[in-house]
């Protein structure tokens, strides 16, 4: 009953959240243009957008669309003139849209924030918390009857929403300007300024991890491993990824997500970031050294002792979202041998791409030359990586496809850091998932609920340890096993059983 009410409140708040996109009126003024355009482009802009100025628009889409078209025309001209410095980017358009808005939402940001985010969180918690009254233990009943979790209509709707959201966020943020407005009160509180699209994204991300983290903890509350691991994810997302960088920039320091590292943080060695760190004194140098030490020393040492799980399912932001918001979709990952083959080509391909791209970027940084080895154009390498991997793969596909291909699409097929961590886990680590003698009954719960698409059962039923580069150590196979067969363990590297025994434990027949 309470849960139904919670669901209704959540859906209403979510509907209103979508509705806010069309809530404002818009009037473009000369002042706004002057504020947002560089001097050299202002004259052109005033001419190009003359028909819009001082007109009142009640439809946000018409306004945003007309504005975007106008700016597209301007950019066309600048492209033709090769006047790169005059070009206008999404953030400027977003800022114009925001400044032009007026109406109920603009005047009542705080109240609207409460009605959308506040009520959505309240509704979600009302839906989630009563689960704690049921007996603790694995309860996956009915997930295959649920249209959201089985690629049925609701799953497709959710996927479409995620995909549209990411496309708008990365490429057309002006269309979701009102959402950044909703977050302004929070942004003012934390850093005194208005919310950028990335602040809005970070906030939404953190809220998702926290609310769905609570859901996860309740669902797996019989397992201390799952509780501690999820608290860790929630902590790293909230404090290290979201709040700490804001504090840094409040203190006028270069801000950084201290747990993010190259090659996942693919722009770490980009010239503008290196310049910023190198010119920011001791703290900048610290960030540079920290960032390099993390992947040069931190990764091999930690993976050797604990497996890649120390990062992928305890610390990482992408992993954090996958484990919390993505948990309802974990069973959708493809377990076939074919999927495994594709996975290995793709993920190692992306790692190679990231390495070559970074070498190119650093080569340009140090030599000033824009062609590596005489034929590799470093700038287009950089921009195509950013577009294809940074935006499309990790965002649009990585999260957008949760309800279609499972919650670890990016981590499994695309993340170059996961590939790097995985290589060490596979060849030099104490970590493995052990199989408990001959006790497997081949039921398949482990494989079904493995988010990385590992056919865990294939190992368990022949008494072989699971040593796979992709395993993120979430521990769910062990949790769902009805016979206590699987356990995540660290022990001597050479004690991992890599070759299945001839017959399983429990058979004393003569050899």
């Amino acid at each position: 009953m309470l849960q139904k009410l919670g669901l209704i409140i959540f859906i209403a708040a979510f509907g209103l959240f979508i509705g806010t996109l069309g809530m404002n009126n818009y009037t473009l003024t000369d002042e706004i243009l002057e504020k947002n355009f560089k001097e050299e482009a202002l004259f052109d802009a005033k001419i190009e957008l003359a028909s819009m100025v001082d007109q009142s628009y009640s439809n946000s889409y018409t306004f945003t669309n007309e504005l975007s078209e106008g700016i597209k025309q301007l950019n066309k001209v600048y492209n033709a003139q090769q006047a790169w410095d005059k070009k206008i980017y999404e953030d400027t358009i977003l800022s114009i849209v925001k400044s032009s808005a007026n109406g109920y939402l603009v005047d009542n940001k705080g109240f609207m924030f409460f009605l959308t985010f506040g009520m959505a969180i309240f509704g979600a918690l009302l839906f989630i918390l009563p689960e704690a009254q049921k007996p603790a233990g694995i309860k996956n009943n009915g997930i295959y009857f649920n249209p959201a979790m089985t690629r049925k209509w609701l799953g497709i709707c959710i996927g479409t929403f995620f995909i549209s959201f990411y496309i708008a966020l990365y490429f057309k943020p002006q269309y979701i300007a009102n959402w950044t407005m909703l977050i302004d009160p929070v942004s003012k509180l934390i850093n005194g300024g208005e919310a950028s699209r990335w602040f809005m994204y970070g906030f939404l991300y953190t809220i998702s991890v926290l609310v769905m983290g609570i859901r996860y903890i309740i669902k797996y509350r019989h397992s201390k491993y799952q509780i501690i691991r999820t608290l860790s994810i929630m902590f790293f997302q909230t404090c290290i990824a979201f709040i700490l960088p804001e504090i840094m920039s409040n203190l006028n320091l270069p801000s950084a997500d201290l747990k993010n590292m190259w090659p996942l943080d693919y722009s770490f060695f980009f010239n503008y970031r290196l310049d910023k760190l190198l010119t920011s004194g001791a703290f900048g140098i610290f960030l540079l050294v920290w960032g390099i030490a993390l992947f040069v020393v931190g990764v091999p040492v930690m993976v050797y002792f604990f497996g890649k799980r120390w990062y992928c399912s305890w610390v990482c932001g992408c992993g954090g979202l996958a484990e919390t918001l993505g948990d309802p979709f974990r069973q959708l990952s493809d377990k076939s041998l074919k999927a495994w083959k594709i996975e290995r080509y793709l993920i190692h391909g992306v790692l190679a791409f990231a390495i070559i791209m970074t070498i190119g970027v650093l080569y340009t940084y140090f030599t000033g030359s824009y062609t590596l080895l005489g034929f590799i154009p470093t700038e287009s390498l950089k921009s195509s990586y950013g577009f294809l991997i940074g935006s499309i793969f990790s965002g649009v596909v990585g999260t957008g496809f949760y309800p279609l291909m499972g919650n670890r699409v990016w981590c499994r097929f695309g993340c170059p850091l996961a590939a790097y961590l995985g290589i060490i886990q596979r060849f030099k680590s104490k970590f493995r998932i052990t199989t408990n003698g001959g006790q497997c009954i081949s039921c398949g719960n482990c494989s079904t609920h493995c988010e990385m698409g590992i056919d865990v059962r294939a190992y368990a039923q022949k008494g072989q340890d699971i040593v796979r580069s992709s395993c993120v150590g979430c521990g769910v196979c062990s949790a769902v096993c009805p016979r206590g067969v699987l356990n995540l363990e660290n022990a001597e590297t050479d004690s991992r059983i890599m070759i299945a025994p001839d017959v399983l434990l429990g058979n004393l027949m003569e050899k």
Binding site: P135, A136, G137, I138, N140, N141, G142, I143, Y144, F145, N146, H222, S223, K224, Y225, I228, F305, F306, Q331, S336, L337, K430, N436, G437, G438, Q439, I441, S442, C443, G444, N445, S447, T448, R457, A458, Q461, G475, S478, A479, P482, R483, G484, N487, L488, E489, N490, A491, V503, L504, L505, G506, N507, L508, M509, E510
Partner: protein, 469 residues
């Protein structure tokens, strides 16, 4: 090239096929009328509860069989001619719409892995619509068809499948009444303390469990659909579904021939079935899993051992023994005649949220020469029992509920007759619970010390850092 034919694609038959393929190049055909591919029978419950799809219960992808040259044939066997070494398939008919193939097939070696079938004890109304057991894929299908329309169900028989069926129906919001003949759950198999613990847990999950109740008859309505049951105490319970889970018996109807009037005759040790094959409750086999007919073997649930190993039963119808027989018979078929020699007994189950493992022998009633140590956590959901010989304190068996234990360690402790004190001092070595789980070894040891006046101390702790470094 010899042709090995296996009837039955369950865990025994498939294990045999896989191991024969590993060790030889002979032609292998596996016949099943139940499904196209091997699936895990134990996972049918999860399909019904919506945790998995049927596809997920298949331990091997569909290409596996062709790649390993294991031919699969979907058909029901009608009869076997052991003289001619030939199987005849049932023709397709209305009852078996899925049995497509007629005709016959010849074999050089035949392995019977026929499985078992739910017991029905001749109750009045046992064939009404809405009355069924839970064993086969077809049982799952009929359960899926019947139960969406029902509100109340009665389950008869307090064993493992009974609890599973109760959990399944309960997950779909069906009110379940559970009739158990004994006065506590499963107490013919597990000792009273464990039985009490599980009985409590079943009740905790809102299953209406009625002890000391036996089914008298099942009452149908005018459409031949069950509408109630009557117990021997005379209670009538309204229900639209009756689950019969009073154990299973070897599925050997294929081999049986009419035996004439048995009344007044002493029960013989065996009867002869089709082609003279020796049957009793199951297909009788010697320690090599050979039947009395040359080149015909039997494994798994359908087997009755003529001379079981000391301490083992003639019929042991569990997943693990089926698999061990499959592994063993493969050796024999591929040229090395090998005795069936299961090691230390082990089994496992899960009752709602409580996992159960057992190693060695822990009978319901304590044998005279055996002592027992039992510890139960204050939550009433976790317990450990260890049996040991009175004479030299060697451990003989262990039950654990709610703590995962390492099979390998207990196998070694029991087979090498380690003393109880050694086992308790080193109990952490057997702990297989996930990291960060509370460990109970110290508390367990304390109880033993108090009871026996000893002063044992823990020799090792599992702790996360002791394992990393």
């Amino acid at each position: 090239m010899q042709h090995v034919v296996i009837i039955g694609n369950g865990i025994s038959g498939i294990t045999a096929a896989r191991h024969i393929r590993k060790q030889s190049d002979c032609k292998i055909t596996v016949i099943s009328g139940e499904t196209d591919h091997f699936f895990s029978r134990t996972a049918l419950m999860y399909v019904y509860m919506g945790q998995m799809k049927f596809e997920h219960t298949k331990p091997y992808e569909d290409w596996f069989w062709e790649k390993n040259r294991i031919e699969l044939k979907r058909a029901w066997v009608k009869t076997i001619d052991f003289e001619e070494k030939k199987l005849y398939f049932r023709l397709p008919n209305n009852i078996d719409k899925e049995a497509k193939i007629g005709g016959s097939i010849s074999y050089d070696k035949l392995i019977l892995a026929l499985g078992s079938t739910p017991n029905k004890f001749g109750w009045k109304g046992q064939n009404l619509a809405g009355v069924q057991g839970l064993y086969s894929y077809q049982d799952l299908k009929s359960l899926e068809e019947t139960t969406p329309r029902i509100k109340k169900a009665v389950i008869v028989g307090g064993g493992l499948i009974g609890v599973e069926l109760a959990e399944m129906l309960h997950s779909r919001g069906i009110e379940v009444t559970f009739l158990v003949r004994e006065n506590s759950f499963w107490n013919t198999v597990i000792p009273p303390e464990e039985s009490t613990l599980i009985s409590r847990h079943i009740k905790e999950n809102h299953i209406n469990i009625k002890f000391s109740s036996e089914l008298d008859e099942i009452i149908g309505d005018e459409n031949g659909q069950v509408k109630a049951i009557k117990t021997k105490n005379g209670d009538e319970i309204e229900c639209q579904f009756v689950g019969l889970t009073v154990g299973v018996n070897p599925n050997i109807s294929l081999l049986k021939v009419p035996q004439g009037n048995m009344i007044g005759r002493e029960k013989p040790a065996f009867v002869l079935g089709v082609g003279g094959i020796k049957l009793n409750l199951g297909i009788l086999v010697n320690e090599y899993l050979e039947t009395n007919i040359p080149d015909v073997y039997a494994i798994g649930d359908c087997v009755e051992h003529e001379n079981p190993q000391k301490g083992r039963k003639k019929l042991e119808q569990i997943w693990y023994t089926g698999r061990i027989m499959g592994e063993t018979i493969a050796r024999t078929i591929t040229g090395k005649r090998t005795k069936y020699q299961p090691g230390v007994f082990f089994n496992s189950a899960k009752f709602f949220d409580i996992e159960y493992q057992t190693f060695g022998q822990v009978p319901a009633e304590l044998p005279e020469d055996t002592k027992t140590f039992y510890w139960e956590h204050s939550s009433g959901r976790i317990c450990v029992r260890i049996n040991y010989t009175a004479e030299n304190q060697a451990v003989t068996g262990m039950n654990t509920f709610g703590i995962r234990m390492r099979h390998e360690v207990w196998d070694e402790w029991i087979s090498s007759a380690k003393r109880i004190e050694y086992v308790l001092e080193n109990l952490s070595k057997a702990n297989f619970d996930p990291e960060f789980f509370k460990q109970h070894e110290a508390e367990i040891l304390k109880k033993y010390n108090t009871e026996t006046g000893s002063s044992l101390t823990l020799k090792s702790k599992k702790g996360i850092f002791s394992k990393i470094f």
